[in-house]
């Protein structure tokens, strides 16, 4: 490449660089930027800093100011001294946003651009074109003003946003970012701009370079605003968050958060001005429904706190102070003008009305006085009234907070009916029993709108204290001459029941008997008398029903509801005589047919309930019986041993000793040298597995083969059958071997042994060995018999063959574990049972034992040197 080419290339490169915009849009709002970084957010919060609250204005003029748009014909933007009410300047301007006081500048939207005016003079310093977007708001730090613009703030399909930093002195652009989402009014502090983004994130940008330093994203809340103050940076939606490292959690629980304790106000205002809703430059209802607060230090437990633990709410001409922790109203006042703007300073709460009157309110007491009068019809008001003093003359609201609330609820302004309904719910939360009286009094006001009356009724029914006021109200009756109405019985009566106010029965009864009680209120009255008076109310009901039983007053299903209710009360609370009385009523053809039918209906319902109860009782009895049977079955099953004990074997064996003896005698007679006869009996239990089922089957097949849920009767039958089968189950001899292998002996013994039956056991097989010592028996029996072993220590006659068998006192040891199915068989000593599956053939005797005296079984494992019967 020659020099010319290089120079050209350099020139082109330089030209390209020079032509490129100096603002990079890739340094912020990138989808790849990591959000909720604890370190970065902590640094941002630290940069914004926390300072002591200073009671002075934020503006550069150092005076409490009010910037506003003059309403009506000559629309203009004006700045007033809040203390004196004098205008600093006023400039005709078709402003379309609320002006914002930013240091020494005033920012206001006019048409399609946002102007930067000199705060002292109103002279224009510069402007920023919207380029098709709407102005969302601005903030300032140092000499930089940061502005947000968006499309889609008030709906529509297009979503675009732009944040732009400009020089506060000239309006010249410093940097800008365009994003494909909506951006809200930003905050600026500590060299950083905090830009709400898509109601979910807040981008933290370096105010000098526009580079994104951190990003906060909520995972469980909507982030609709952010503001910076000397106390720090705060953001949120319905509640308030403090920006710090904990904000990185992205959750309410993990952040410093304070929920709005006064949520639910009609109009659903956020706790701070919504950054995504553009202002209009005119008066709006939104401006009249708002909260204000001043952030405080962190409370115990890391909870965010506000100054004085109080949040203030304005709703048209009502202003309230609310406990930030509990939502309890501290004070409530009604002004004679709507509040168009409100700001809380360390000194007081200041509000401005449309007529230009500036009022100061003592945050602690609600005492209010006039600060100044602007002498203009104002709207779209911005306040910067730090340092403004409260007026010396202030009027404190009368009465307690409860009384003040009641006063607000009585407000005849029908615009405020929804808010008055809301206040009714707040009033009803107070435990003071006087509240019940207040609500009752409010309910009976003739001027109360229907919607509000319904709210009061609902609130009244939620009360659980103040029954005495309701009882007292029952003293009131309709009186045409005195223009008295009946008390609201449909509200009072159920509430008295909820309060269990038995003392109300006489008053309620008087209203039952009063013809002026509205027919639609009678059911509630009757139910209350019945519930509170129980059985004592029955005679009253009987007389009342009797009087009207044939009267046209209650003719027709709809009008007969009261009669039916009384009949039901008699039925429920009356005794047998009362029910008999009702039966007579039902049988009397002269009686109104509707209540007659109702009596029959009640009787049927009662019969059904009785039957249902009986069914339930018998079912529970059946279940109890079934359970007892199942328990018995379980006991039976538990009683089935794993293996048979020697004692159990001997019980069957001993019953046939005589026959065995005959066989043995035959064998000895055929072989006089025979010393022993060994018998190995293998038992097979063959216990069906189903007999060990613990519970009846869930479903049972019917006659048609279709299964159905097993009834308790079927379960009972099943259990009985199981127990019968288990009881009948026997272990039988599967195999019997004898030594010596004398055919006659085998034949003889088989006839004796094979039919033997034994108790069932769980293992499939079990082997028993018995050794008949014919020699010892003969010796002790005198040679003629093989009996005569004598008695054991307990004086029991020993069976002749027990010479080498276990003694009566010694149970057979449990089968060795090695004899479990699948394990190699081991040699067992005679007399000890072998595990199932290890039958030992007579020809291969396992460790024959040396004959021993009773009680000394042969040592196991003694090797046999010669056939044992020849020993």
């Amino acid at each position: 490449m020659n020099r010319r080419a290089l120079a050209l290339s350099a020139l082109v490169s330089a030209g390209l660089v020079g032509c490129m915009p100096s603002i990079r849009t890739t340094t912020a709002f990138s989808s790849r930027f990591g959000d909720n970084n604890r370190g970065r957010l902590g640094e941002a919060a630290a940069a914004a800093g926390v300072a002591a609250v200073a009671d002075r204005p934020r503006n550069a003029l150092g005076r409490p100011l009010i910037a506003t748009v003059i309403q009506g014909e000559g629309r203009a933007v004006a700045v007033y001294d809040a203390q004196s009410g004098q205008a600093l300047w006023s400039r005709p301007m078709a402003a379309s946003s609320t002006p914002e006081i930013l240091g020494d500048a005033l920012v206001v939207e006019v048409g399609s651009s946002t102007k930067i005016l000199d705060l002292a003079t109103g002279a224009e310093r510069g402007h920023v074109d919207h380029n098709g977007l709407e102005f969302a708001g601005a903030d300032r730090d140092g000499d930089t003003i940061v502005m947000s613009f968006s499309a889609g703030l008030t709906g529509g399909g297009r979503r675009a946003g732009r944040v732009e930093a400009v020089d506060a002195r000239s309006g010249s652009q410093r940097w800008t970012h365009e994003v494909g989402g909506i951006l809200g009014r930003p905050a600026a502090r500590g060299g950083l701009a905090f830009v709400p983004w898509d109601r979910q994130s807040i981008a933290v940008l370096d105010l000098g370079s526009g580079v994104e330093r951190a990003r906060l994203r909520s995972t469980d809340d909507v982030l609709s605003w952010v503001f910076a103050s000397p106390q720090g940076v705060f953001y949120g939606g319905r509640g308030i968050y403090r920006l710090n490292a904990d904000s990185a959690s992205g959750t309410r629980a993990g952040s410093q958060f304070l929920a709005n304790p006064f949520e639910g106000i009609p109009g659903d205002p956020l706790i701070y001005r919504d950054a995504f809703l553009p202002t209009t430059g005119t008066r709006t209802a939104r401006d009249r429904i708002r909260f204000t607060f001043m952030p405080g230090a962190t409370a115990e437990g890391g909870r965010l706190a506000v100054q004085g633990d109080t949040i203030f709410a304005a709703y048209y001409h009502d202003v309230l102070a609310v406990d930030a922790s509990t939502g309890a109203v501290r004070w409530a006042i009604r002004l004679d003008e709507d509040v168009e703007a409100m700001e809380l300073t360390p000194t007081g709460l200041f509000v401005v009305a449309a007529g230009g009157r500036v009022r100061g309110i003592d945050p602690a007491t609600g005492a209010v006085g006039v600060v100044s009068q602007l002498n203009a019809q104002v709207g779209a008001i911005a306040l910067d009234v730090g340092g403004l003093s409260l007026p010396a003359e202030r009027v404190a609201p009368e009465g307690t907070a409860r009384e003040q609330l009641v006063s607000l609820i009585r407000d005849p302004d029908n615009r405020l009916v929804p808010f008055r309904s809301f206040l009714v719910t707040r009033l009803a939360r107070l435990e003071d029993e006087e509240v019940t009286h207040d609500l009752l009094d409010l309910y009976t006001q003739r001027s109360i709108p229907v919607q509000l009356r319904q709210s009061i009724a609902t609130a009244l029914q939620s009360r659980r204290t103040g029954a005495r006021f309701l009882v007292a109200a029952l003293e009131e009756h309709f009186d045409y001459l005195e223009n008295h109405s009946a008390p609201p019985l449909q509200v009072i009566a159920p509430t008295l029941v909820a309060m269990n106010a038995r003392e109300a029965v006489p008053g309620l009864t008087a209203h039952l008997l009063d013809h002026e009680t509205p027919i639609e209120a009678l059911p509630d009255v009757i139910n209350a008398i019945g519930a509170l008076g129980e059985g004592s109310s029955v005679p009253v009901f009987q007389r009342w029903v009797q009087l009207y039983r044939s009267d046209s007053t209650f003719r027709g299903a709809e009008r007969a509801v009261a009669l039916n209710t009384a009949i039901e009360a008699i039925f429920r609370h009356g005794d047998a005589a009362a029910r008999a009385w009702l039966q007579q009523l039902a049988d009397d053809t002269r009686v109104n047919p509707v209540p007659r039918a109702h009596v029959a209906e009640l009787q049927q319902r009662d019969a059904r309930e009785i039957q249902q109860r009986e069914t339930q009782q018998s079912e529970s009895e059946r279940q109890a019986a079934l359970q007892a049977e199942v328990n018995r079955l379980h006991e039976l099953q538990a009683a089935v041993p794993s293996t048979l004990t020697d004692a159990a074997f001997d019980e069957a064996w001993n019953a046939h000793l005589d026959e065995v003896r005959e066989c043995a005698q035959g064998a000895v007679s055929r072989n006089p040298a025979l010393n022993q006869i060994r018998v190995v009996v293998t038992l097979r239990s063959e216990l069906p597995r189903r007999l060990m089922d613990a519970n009846p089957p869930a479903r049972t097949a019917g006659a048609d083969g279709v299964t159905h849920p097993t009834t308790s009767e079927e379960a009972l039958t099943w259990t009985g059958a199981q127990m019968a089968a288990l009881t009948a189950q026997r272990a039988r001899v599967r195999l019997a071997t004898y030594a010596p292998g004398d055919a006659e002996l085998r034949s003889c013994m088989d006839r004796v042994v094979l039919p033997l039956e034994f108790p069932v056991f769980r293992e499939m097989r079990q082997e028993f060995r018995r050794v008949i010592d014919t020699r010892a028996a003969r010796a002790q029996g005198g040679g003629e018999t093989i009996n005569g072993l004598g008695l054991d220590a307990q004086g029991r006659e020993l069976p002749w063959w027990l010479v080498s068998a276990p003694t009566l006192e010694v149970e057979n040891p449990p089968p060795p574990s090695a004899t479990r199915p699948g394990t190699p068989a081991t040699t067992v000593r005679p007399g000890a049972p072998t595990a199932p599956g290890t039958p030992t053939a007579p020809g291969t005797p396992a460790a024959p034992g040396t004959p021993t005296a009773p009680g000394t079984p042969p040592a196991p494992g003694t090797p046999a040197q010669r056939p044992w019967w020849e020993e």
Binding site: L513, E516, T553
Partner: protein, 282 residues
Amino acid sequence: MHHLPRLSAVSVCLAAIATLSPASAQRRPPAPANAASARPLTLREATQRLQSADPDEITEGVDALTRIGTAEAVAPMVTLVRSGLPDELLDLVVTKLGILGRPEAIEELGSLLHHRRPAVRLRAVTALSQIRDDRSRPLIESGLRDSNAGVRAEAARALGRINARPSLALLQRAFERNIPEAAESIGALGDAAAADRLLESVGRAPLSVLLPGFRRFLDRRDLTDPVKLRIVEQLVSRSPTTQVKAFLQEWVRELPPADRSRARARAELAIRQINDAPGAPR
């Protein structure tokens, strides 16, 4: 309505003569079998009739008890009322209790002032007004407080009928509370001050409501001529209309020819002075 008490007394007397005189019954020849129904029922028979399921028999029993008219006749009828009757029968019994005019019925009639059907309450007010007993008046007064205009009207009239002077203040209050029927009773019971107070309503309340009250004032013999003169003068002065002229004409016409009162003279003068053309005062 004014004759009801007298009728009641007559019927009571007749019934007493017809049914309660054992001597006359004994003197009577044995009645033929078909004449048994024509014979007046005894108290026991009438009471038994009340227990019938047949409304006609009940009516017969009620009528018989009314004819009997003694204190003993009240209790069966009260029991009947409390047993729960259809409208027609209850209305009948309440009316008959009034005709009986026995104070023993006051308590029950007082209860019936709170019956849910206005017709029953109205009849109870009427019946109470037929019983000469001090306890009746406050009960009738309570009818003025009723939500039903008919009951209120009957209570107002009844207080006038029973000459309840202690109820005058209440009647005046009732008149102010738009119970027009109170005017007539005020006229029947009130004094000069009451007449003045009623005169103050001329121009505020319709003449059709007020004039019956003034007529009662003018018809009373216990009021002096100056009082009546003042009524005529004030009436003419406050409302010199053809309606007043016609009212005065009717009153003068019914006065005895010998009446030479100044009130009459003033009325005759007013009759001459008031033009017949509508709205023309003189």
